[in-house]
């Protein structure tokens, strides 16, 4: 069950280091310590070291939902923690913290991205869009309600954002494409049937808009 988002999520990576590569690198290193090929982890960590000027908190301006926010953050703080703890935008959830589950999906310059895979400092100059920006009558939200595509609701905002991005870009998508395209998110309660029905309805209309 590979994460299909791996290939589709944009590499928002202007600064040369990012948390996603670090996580992937270190994860690979743990998994294959018996093999002497953990160079990917080493490379990501070396790159990270090279780019970090100071570990102390620095002023940054983040554009979230069209509004600039001035914050003082250490470079190691993730976009996820910043959104949730500093900006109280708690629609994105902290579930795995290791880029597996998609519960923290936000849009960065329009592309669906795991907020736990990005450092806040990486997102300077980008447009971050969270679920809180959706209009009250958003068709994806309405579709999730109509098809009862949620139970406990904890994975739901992440799934809504992933569904929105997918349906916007893939009008006319097939069932197989929907299943593949939404494969980057995990639900524990088992709401996939409703989510699939919702996404299929949206792609046969006009996407997530």
């Amino acid at each position: 069950m590979r994460d299909p988002h791996e290939e589709t999520i944009s590499q928002v990576n202007g600064s040369g280091f990012n948390r996603r590569d670090f996580l992937r690198g270190s994860g690979a290193a743990v998994a294959v310590t018996a093999l002497a090929t953990s160079d990917r982890g080493a490379t990501a960590q070396d790159a990270a070291k090279k780019n970090v000027v100071s570990a102390k908190a620095q002023d940054v301006t983040l554009n979230v939902n069209g509004k600039d926010h001035k914050l003082s953050l250490e470079p190691r703080v993730t976009l996820l923690d910043t959104l949730r703890d500093d900006l109280d935008l708690t629609g994105c959830k902290d579930v795995c913290d290791t880029t597996n589950c998609g519960a923290c999906t936000v849009l960065i310059d329009g592309k669906p991205t795991y907020a736990c895979s990005r450092l806040a400092h990486e997102c300077v100059g980008k447009k971050v869009t969270t679920i809180e920006s959706l209009a009250a009558n958003d068709p994806v939200v309405a579709g999730f309600v109509k098809h009862d595509a949620q139970q406990c609701g904890f994975c739901t905002p992440g799934f809504v954002m992933a569904t929105k991005a997918f349906c916007d870009k893939n009008p006319g998508a097939t069932l197989a494409q929907v299943r593949n395209g939404l494969g980057g998110n995990i639900c524990r309660c088992g709401t996939y049937v409703g989510i699939t029905a919702c996404a299929m309805e949206l792609v046969t209309k006009k996407g997530g808009k």
């Binding site: 795995c96 589950c101 009862d148 409703g194």
Partner: protein
């Protein structure tokens, strides 16, 4: 004369809401990210806590020093869960916690803790009965006998010996266990991720007293939980970490939010016990089982040495001649907590697989053999279900196309990919838990229900609103449902599928009592008989004559309106107990890779009177998907050498994704006779049969029993290889 209304559900055909597909009332709140969970609580001045947990199989604390952690910038409070000399008996055991201004500072604090331990012997291999015996890690959990198994085996037409198993899994709540605690004027307020709003204040009080010598009255503790991000049976108490958060909060004079990290969540916050069994099963030529002999073992973690309850074996059925024996394994693994339908999924996985194997040995279709064995269902509660099972088996077979698709075991096609069918069946109680509620009719026509229940994602809030709207003949938006606070009238914990009966009964009773009082006032004003009145479509009627609108009626009430209390459960027919349920799976097995794909999965499920058909179906879909998870991929993997839980993350603890579930077909079995039974819980049953149904389908496809669930590619390939040898 005061109006006397009968306490009952109305005629099914008259219902406006009950049994219809109604979208959940908190749907927009959740889907738009507005819903606030305990993990989202962030009151002014909130500190964020992180825990240090033990990484090893077993060990004794040599030293623990938190002083350096306290010096870390931002750290405001620390707590030690253990002291020198304490034994840590499983991976993930809590050692200490640190609360700081920011999460990353709390992590720094955890890293600054000086902690050393001496390793101790551990045993974690849950399916290794011989190894456990050698290591003196077993507990004899008894045996008993009925009839004469040996004699029956001699005269049986066919005898089968098989081994079956189902591994330990974790609850994997997406919102980890935890809370945000704060003290205001000596009173404790907790945003708690819980299935037990009304019961948790007393648990916080006793844990704070016992563990931290902090005294607070239950009346001064408020637990709040509007939304909970999954519990599945694991979130009923304050927990050590909840009490620690409250203690650190008191010390720091600040709110403290402590949510477990993902790894610790998987290790200590709940597991489902494992079960492994050697079974000898015998049948006559028609497939009727005449003898059963089983020895099962497994672990419930926590060094407790328990396994599946002996008395519940074999599952649903009992046979004339039967031996059973159980052995518990004492393992260094996280303690169990109730996991959705405890322990029925495991019982079913060890019973219905053996029944399927005996059917295969006879060359018979599993459907025919299960039907032939319905007379082996005994006991007054289950015997009543025999007609239901008969109907459900037949309907499920129709839905999956059993008679067209079925073939004998091992005849799943000539290519590498084999296809097969399997079935299993289950039961669950689902009685109403004890609970109270207050119902108000306000002078403006609005209506309120107040109760200390919780909506764990099952749609409780929507169900309460539907019951009141149906009873009062008003629209759903006129009903305000208040829940999720321990301040409200006490309601039971949401476990064991007890909530729907636990809230619908009391709310219906309170609403009928309130309606009677309203009719008294209307009758006096309009000179009609209260007992002739009905409330429908926003109006009050006397027979077919419209008396006044609902609003006008409520306007007669004066400022205080009407307030009534409802209690439950009661023996008045509103709620009932005991459901069946049948599931059939159609799978493809790639014999070269061991990968199993779900083609179709059918569930036919009864649950008495259905309140909301939409959310009821969602429960069944969810059950099937959780069932696919534990049948194919998810398990706790403990490393023999280190004793550690090596897949405690979401990359290696495998859950199905949206493309992994195939086509699910859910049909609620709902003839009028089910409606007449009243409300019965539905959450647990649909997750029970999945393991056996899928395992049986794989056996039908390949002709080989993969003994242990989950049926991972490695286990499939190992079984195929062993069968060839």
């Amino acid at each position: 004369m005061a109006t006397e209304l009968k306490v009952a559900w109305g005629p099914r055909k008259d219902n406006v809401y009950l049994g219809k597909e109604i979208t959940r009332l908190d749907g927009v709140e959740k889907a738009s990210g507005a819903a606030k969970y305990a993990a989202d609580a962030n009151p002014k001045g909130c500190l964020f806590a992180k825990v240090l947990s033990f990484k090893g199989g077993a060990g004794k604390v040599k030293s623990l020093d938190l002083s350096e952690a306290l010096k870390v910038p931002g750290v405001k409070a620390v707590h030690a869960f253990v002291k020198e000399g304490d034994e840590l008996q499983w991976d993930g055991t809590l050692v200490a916690a640190v609360a700081a201004e920011r999460q990353e500072q709390a992590e720094d604090g955890v890293r600054a803790i000086k902690f050393a331990f001496d390793a101790m012997e551990h045993f974690v291999d849950e399916d290794d009965l011989k190894g456990a015996e050698a290591a003196k890690r077993t507990k004899d959990l008894g045996n008993n006998t009925k009839g004469d198994v040996e004699a029956a085996l001699k005269t049986a037409a066919v005898v089968h010996k098989g081994s079956y198993g189902i591994a330990t899994i974790s609850h994997m709540c997406l919102e980890t266990h935890g809370s945000c605690t704060r003290w205001e004027d000596g009173k404790l307020i907790v945003n708690h991720s819980t299935q037990n709003v009304s019961g948790t204040p007393a648990n916080f009080v006793s844990e704070l007293q016992k563990q931290h010598n902090i005294s607070v009255d239950v009346a001064d503790v408020t637990v709040l939980c509007q939304f909970v991000g999954g519990g599945f049976g694991s979130k009923f108490g304050a927990d050590d970490w909840g009490a620690a958060a409250a203690k650190m909060s008191k010390e720091a004079g600040r709110p403290v939010r402590l949510m477990l990290d993902r790894a610790t969540e998987l290790k200590i916050a709940g597991t489902r016990p494992s079960g492994f069994a050697d079974v000898t099963i015998a049948a006559d030529k028609d497939g009727k089982i005449v003898a059963w002999d089983s020895h099962h073992w497994g672990t419930n973690g926590g060094m407790k040495g328990g396994t599946l309850n002996l008395a519940q074996f074999p599952y649903v059925f009992d046979f004339e001649n039967r031996n059973r024996k159980a052995t518990g394994l004492i393992t260094n693994s996280g303690p169990d907590r109730a996991w959705r339908a405890p322990p029925h999924p495991q019982l079913c996985a060890l019973t219905d697989t053996a029944i399927d194997d005996i059917a295969a040995k006879l060359g018979k279709s599993a459907v025919d053999v299960f039907l032939a064995n319905l007379e082996n269902i005994t006991g007054p509660a289950l015997e009543k279900l025999i007609p239901t099972y008969t109907a459900e088996i037949k309907r499920a077979a129709e839905l999956i196309g059993w008679s067209k698709k079925w073939h004998p075991h091992g005849k799943g096609g000539d290519g590498d990919v084999k296809r097969g069918l399997g079935m299993a069946m289950h039961t669950w109680g689902g009685s109403a838990h004890a609970g109270t509620c207050t119902v108000r009719i306000n002078p403006d026509g609005s209506v309120e229900s107040l109760s200390g229940t919780q909506d764990i994602g099952t749609g409780t809030r929507t169900a309460i609103a539907m019951v009141l709207a149906e009873t009062f003949g008003i629209t759903l938006d006129a009903v305000k449902v208040r829940y999720g606070s321990s301040v409200y009238p006490r309601s039971g914990p949401s476990g064991g599928s007890t909530t729907i009966g636990g809230v619908s009964g009391p709310n219906r009773r309170a609403a009928i009592a309130a309606l009677g009082k309203l009719f008294d006032v209307v009758a006096e004003k309009h000179k009609v008989k209260g007992n002739d009145l009905t409330a429908k479509g926003g109006k009050i009627w006397s027979g077919t004559k419209e008396i006044c609108t609902w609003k006008a009626a409520c306007g007669l009430l004066g400022m205080m309106g009407i307030e009534t209390t409802g209690e439950g459960p009661k023996d008045d027919g509103l709620t009932s107990v005991q459901v069946g349920g049948v599931q059939m799976a159609d799978v493809s097995v790639d014999t070269k890779t061991g990968i199993i794909r779900m083609n179709q999965f059918v569930a036919v499920q009864d649950c008495g009177l259905i309140v909301d058909l939409l959310t009821a179906k969602s429960q069944v879909y969810g059950g099937l998907i959780m069932g696919i998870a534990y049948s194919l991929t998810e398990e706790q993997i403990l490393d023999n050498k280190t004793g550690r839980y090596i897949n405690a993350d979401m990359e290696n603890y495998k859950l199905p994704r949206i493309g992994d579930i195939g086509e699910l077909i859910v049909e609620m079995y709902q003839p009028d006779s089910e409606y007449e039974r009243g409300v019965i819980g539905l959450g647990e049953p649909p997750v029970i049969s999945c393991g056996a149904a899928i395992s049986n389908a794989v056996a039908n496809a390949t002709g080989v029993r993969v003994p242990t669930i989950p049926l991972t590619p490695k286990r499939v390939l190992d079984a195929l290889k062993a069968a060839k040898a």
